[in-house]
């Protein structure tokens, strides 16, 4: 009997991973990003969220390698005098927290509803899938923007900004759960007719036990593939919402708000305020997408189109 670790080491999964240089490189970069985000409070040159540290006299300093640059601010400063590098670390951290949180929420809602719809069938299925279809007919980004707009008008900008992180998580979480629901429902419908389910029913396990303990683990592969795609999508949604002004406030910016703030400055020459956070975001989303692509190919080449 091999341990799980041994099994994993010998698995095709690891083998395929080691052979694909792009996947390995993406994984390494992703891990670096994650470490940077987690350790942001300790490794950043300064805390950009703390007003004490910011001196407006430091604003718009170019990156270190340019004339007028300073080694104190490696990538320069933004229009408020904050160190770009620190703000990018913190911004990444915020984006990841919201991204993961939102997708966890999406997955939770989607899996519970999709599992129920798929396994219980009949009326439950019809109603739940109707709701999913209807929400699906509206683009998820529109849902997110509309819900955010309504919240902002209802709560007022001040309260909204204070509650930005949980609000954004909920907004993005609510906007895209149907895709989880649909995927797991399809998978469950396939599993439903397999013998182990029949066996469990005969033994007399209650419905919910069968659903969650027996069927769910076998349907997880399909969810794993979407998970990565959805995280990339959630991060981008958060950036979009922040860019529109429905996201993180100026005092605690995420990458999207940074890009927003920096836009006007490309005309006056301080291009780094918007370009660096942008590139940072792009690379982050890119590695997630590359890994997601690879994961999809390895787990099942025909599972997910496009």
């Amino acid at each position: 009997m091999k341990t799980k670790l041994q099994k994993f080491k010998e698995s095709y999964f690891l083998y395929a991973f080691k052979r694909d240089r792009v996947a390995m490189a993406s994984f390494i970069v992703l891990v670096i990003f994650l470490i940077l985000a987690i350790t942001a409070p300790w490794i950043s040159p300064m805390n950009p969220y703390d007003a004490e540290n910011i001196d407006i006299m430091n604003s718009e300093i170019p990156p270190m390698w340019m004339a007028d640059g300073s080694s104190e601010f490696i990538l320069g400063t933004d229009n408020m005098g904050r160190d770009m590098l620190s703000t990018m670390f913190y911004g990444l951290r915020t984006s990841i927290i919201i991204g993961l949180g939102a997708v966890a929420l999406q997955a939770f809602i989607g899996v519970v509803l999709g599992l129920s719809a798929g396994y219980l069938g009949g009326k439950t299925d019809a109603i739940l899938m109707r709701i999913a279809d209807i929400q699906f007919s509206f683009p998820y980004l529109i849902m997110a923007i509309f819900i955010a707009a309504i919240f902002q008008v209802a709560f007022g900008v001040g309260s909204y900004e204070r509650l930005a992180v949980p609000l954004l998580t909920i907004i993005i979480g609510l906007s895209n759960w149907p895709i989880f629901a649909r995927t797991i429902r399809a998978s469950v419908m396939g599993e439903k007719n397999k013998e182990y389910v029949e066996a469990a029913r005969v033994i007399g396990f209650p419905k919910f036990t069968i659903m969650f303990r027996h069927v769910l683990p076998n349907s997880l592969t399909s969810v794993m593939v979407i998970f990565t795609i959805q995280v990339a999508s959630a991060v981008q949604s958060e950036a979009a919402l922040s860019f529109l002004g429905f996201g993180m406030p100026v005092t605690r910016p995420s990458l999207g708000s940074l890009i927003r703030a920096g836009q006007e400055f490309i005309f006056s020459g301080s291009w780094w305020i918007t370009i660096f956070p942008g590139l940072w975001l792009v690379i982050f989303v890119l590695v997630i997408n590359l890994l997601g692509d690879w994961l999809r190919d390895v787990l099942n080449p025909k599972l997910y189109k496009g």
């Binding site: 683009p139 209802a154 990339a232 860019f243 005309f267 291009w271 989303v285």
Partner: protein, 339 residues
């Protein structure tokens, strides 16, 4: 025999259409309910009507006259009645009926959508087909690598980069606004940018930005669909009949590829609409998205709600029509009721 078969299909179709319409109406009702609830709880219709310079006493009187103290449901019904007639309230910001403001801002957004749709069609079709036919060629591999990059770049960042490159550095294209527009119908309702060089110049960067995130998706989709089609028995049979490669690829394979692609195109246009809001912000483009953001910022509830109701209804309408049309083409949908 053929008659009863036809009759059965007709019945299925009829039931299907009725079901879809009922569903559409229900969703519209929910949208209008949500919209009205917002207006009711957050909005200030008195202010919308008479501005801010009224005494509290006058406000109370006006509020009563407007029926603002009536029960929720009655007000809701009133709201729906007005909405159906085209009255969605008055925009405080523009001092005009909300619907009129929306309609006047719509053409700008529609032109963005048209421009980017054109770019998507003209670029993704040839590239997608080519990478399906010659997957190992340099161009194909290049295209596929870039496609992952393309979907990873936020629309607004692409826009900013394009502005930085073409407007700030190279200075060949404008960085904001619509430029010179021509009044198409002479009544101020549709100012188009397509008829002047300046207008077209202003359209270029926004449309490219808008299409940038959809292009990779379509190229990939067309390529994978076409590659699947190329493996089918009927394509093999087409070869066995001795048809020329041009015919097999560009007529047989292509037509079969187009059908699923067109369905996706429709859905993606919805998402592209969401992206227009972002693009309009970057380029200060006076379309519906820009108007929406202003309404939120200045808390013009009437305009905001009107926008939500209009956009929501348009989505429901388009989806319902597409579903019904699809039901005509694909018989299996009618019986099951859902996709």
């Amino acid at each position: 025999m053929a008659v009863s078969k036809f009759g059965k299909i007709e019945n299925h179709m009829f039931a299907f259409i009725i079901r879809r319409i009922i569903q559409a109406l229900l969703v519209m009702m929910i949208i209008s309910l949500v919209g009205f609830a917002i207006k009711n709880k957050i909005g200030d219709p008195v202010r919308d009507l008479v501005g801010e310079r009224v005494t509290p006493g006058e406000r109370a009187e006006i509020a009563d006259n407007m029926g603002l103290n009536d029960p929720f449901l009655i007000q809701y019904v009133r709201f729906v009645k007005h909405a159906v007639k085209g009255d969605l309230g008055r925009s405080f910001l523009y001092n005009k009926p909300a619907l009129e403001v929306i309609i006047k801002h719509a053409p700008a957004t529609i032109e963005l959508l048209i421009g980017s749709a054109l770019i998507i069609i003209l670029v993704s079709l040839p590239l997608g087909v080519y990478s399906a036919l010659k997957p190992r060629s340099l161009l194909s591999r290049f295209t596929m690598s870039f496609s992952t990059l393309g979907v990873s770049m936020p629309v607004f960042f692409t826009a900013i980069l394009l502005i930085y490159l073409f407007a700030v550095n190279l200075q060949v294209l404008p960085s904001y606004g619509r430029g010179e527009t021509v009044d198409l119908f002479g009544n101020g309702y549709w100012n188009t940018g397509f008829l002047t060089i300046d207008g077209l110049k202003h359209l270029i960067l926004p449309c490219i930005s808008l299409s940038s995130i959809m292009l990779p998706l379509f190229i990939r989709l067309i390529r994978s669909e076409m590659m699947e089609v190329l493996e089918t028995e009927y394509i093999k049979y087409a070869w066995a009949k001795g048809l020329s490669p041009a015919r097999v690829w560009l007529i047989h394979a292509f037509k079969n590829t187009l059908l699923p692609v067109v369905t996706v195109f429709g859905v993606q246009m919805g998402l592209t609409f969401a992206f227009t809001i972002l693009t309009e912000l970057v380029f200060q483009w006076q379309g519906m998205g820009f108007m929406f953001l202003e309404a939120v910022q200045r808390a013009d509830t009437s305009l905001l709600v009107a926008y939500l109701v209009v956009v929501g209804s348009v989505f429901v309408l388009v989806n319902t029509i597409v579903d019904i049309l699809y039901g005509f083409i694909n018989p299996t949908v009618r019986i099951a009721g859902t996709k």
